[in-house]
Point group: C2
Chain length 432, copies 2
Amino acid sequence: MRGLLSALRGLTAPGHRPAARKALIAGSRCGFCGTPAYSKTQPRFGLLFDIDGVLVRGKKPIPAARKSFRKLVDSQGRFVVPVVFVTNAGNCLRQTKADQLTDILGVPITQDQVIMSHSPLRMFKKFHEKCVLVSGQGPVLEIAETLGFKNVVSIDMLRETFPLMDMVDHNRRPKLPFSPVRNLPTIEAVILFGEPIRWETNLQLIIDVLLTNGDLNSPHSSQTPHLPLLACNMDLMWMAEAQSPRFGHGTFLVCLENIYQKITGQELKYEALMGKPSELTYHYAEYLIRSQALQRQWGLPITSLYAIGDNLMTDVYGANLYSRQLEEGVARKNSKAVAKMAAATGAPAALPQEEEGVWESELALPSVTSCKSVLVCTGVYDPKSRRRVTETVFHGHRDFRFEAALVDPHHLVQDVGEAVDLIFEQEKFVPQ
Amino acid sequence: MRGLLSALRGLTAPGHRPAARKALIAGSRCGFCGTPAYSKTQPRFGLLFDIDGVLVRGKKPIPAARKSFRKLVDSQGRFVVPVVFVTNAGNCLRQTKADQLTDILGVPITQDQVIMSHSPLRMFKKFHEKCVLVSGQGPVLEIAETLGFKNVVSIDMLRETFPLMDMVDHNRRPKLPFSPVRNLPTIEAVILFGEPIRWETNLQLIIDVLLTNGDLNSPHSSQTPHLPLLACNMDLMWMAEAQSPRFGHGTFLVCLENIYQKITGQELKYEALMGKPSELTYHYAEYLIRSQALQRQWGLPITSLYAIGDNLMTDVYGANLYSRQLEEGVARKNSKAVAKMAAATGAPAALPQEEEGVWESELALPSVTSCKSVLVCTGVYDPKSRRRVTETVFHGHRDFRFEAALVDPHHLVQDVGEAVDLIFEQEKFVPQ
């Protein structure tokens, strides 16, 4: 049985004796070969980067991004600290996002460094065999398949099968007589990847699916409870090239929740909400950070995470919530969920594939003790309106409670360049 | 000076003496010529027909519609009772709707018989010279122009001028570099005609306009009060060919109101809400009904209105609310508003164009004393769910208060055929 502990042990260079391990801490030299196995330049921290508003705005790189990333890699292009990109985007595959980042940042990014909002869906295995309706943009069927779903219906498939249901656009209404209804399996769950286009179509058909218990041949009736609904990405707004923030998936959810409430008089309920600020996302980010350290044979435990983002309600709230849980030891209690996710998501190739219990126990080992939020001003966050926004308007999701302390960043900087400099300084980190 | 009173006087056949007027009531013969100036077959009532769900579902005529309308016209195709069509549709011109109805019902309908949800905008003259943003489908610029607006901006014009603002659809995002921003006048009011397509675009740009005080070059900030917002048609849902109701403009408003509330923490406010169940719509319907009676030289005053509809929250609520106001004499107190609207809307050609004060005083004369709601089951109303809907879920607009008595129809019938038969029976009306 090989586990994370044994992997950690294996990180001492071949030939190093276990007995010498203690001596390797903090810049000491190996008692056998004299090589500096660890030095002060080995990171004890990992970085979580949000993408939109931190590294790019729309398709335009933020000026400081490239320069700061040059500090994060060595002369061979390898990262000198563990880095993951935690995005609430969900409209593409991880590899696509990694390729975009490589292009934008000028350093090679792998898909194992990318966490999308939908990544946790891998662990919802009980839905993988069920017929699920997916809503979003981009290659939603491919994304769903990659996540493990076997029986997927798209909004377009629903529209084609039930042409009379989507009636808002006068020009798209079917010309009578229309072809008879084809058969589709009964939908058993609804998965919202991200904001779709033609919101009226998706809103109408999702409401129809919820009110017909998944069979659009049936008349509307309030189902209690309604079909399971899983949503990725709760961002109300995000920052693109325009000077003011643009609608995100959270805005679409506001519409869906309020239409459902208006029609049925009941509250729309989520089986799961994924993406920042959900705790699961940060657990998984920590897991990837520690995996990178293992792969690079940095034996010193990672103790701090820094989450750099532009959004008070996702990046700051999520990091602060996770940090609080780390302090309270709550995060450790949830290690089973993380272990399950790690197993379901697939560990990076260099790490051993383990039985569930082993992951659980090893991830449960204390390592990270804090997660600090670093807010940048290049995105959705407007320093001028901070006081008002944080005190009177809660831009987080309906199901997350507003708490002033959770939207108070540990650090406030101008941009990602300042963020990296500040963290290096805080950690007294000097890359080799 | 000629007014409605003088027009009423003039309705006695030429040569009839004013002194003989009293004797003409209730089937008596003219003391001079012996002709039956009035008979029991002259209507004392007028009919208000909703269209969708009563006469058509989508593009399909409801079977009973044609047959029942044959009872409403004489052998020359003239109506034997005053009839108006009161629709919350707002995506076309009155003439277009009249042509559609002529085709569907097989009897000639004129545009003077049609009340659209946007008709009252004619009286909002203070906005006619201002720069207004219009949202809706169909020929919105032409509709706005017909209503009297001189300076109109469409959502499409806004999109073209500010290409970075509409970012939800990945495929419609502008390719960089984009052309510089053109100049558009500052928007001074927003007018919502009906449900648009691509709700994400209209929702985003309307919110942008409200948060920038009409100038999309400015950054977002909460404006208190925000720009005037006028909305036509509050129908949450309507009945098309599908077996379950489809989203209407009211659903779009639910989205807009809740997004605005979520972003700003403040309530979206309307300068005006038009279309059923608003009182103004029923005032204007009464005015058109009485005008038709005058044109046909039916001298007996119209005392009853019957509003035939399929929607509890618009047709029934609106008719019952108006009926209550008639009973309480409230409607008469509001005669000035009606007079203004009549003047602004343009009286039917056969009626004299009068000074405002004259209209006011003459419309203030008591005539109609009741407005009865007749609910049909061929549309959005589902008899099975009535108890639940009326008691627990309010499908009316946010700004209208739920009251059980207002959604309780005076009559419940299967379809428009039964409605017409019932009303004829109630009125003991036998067309000649």
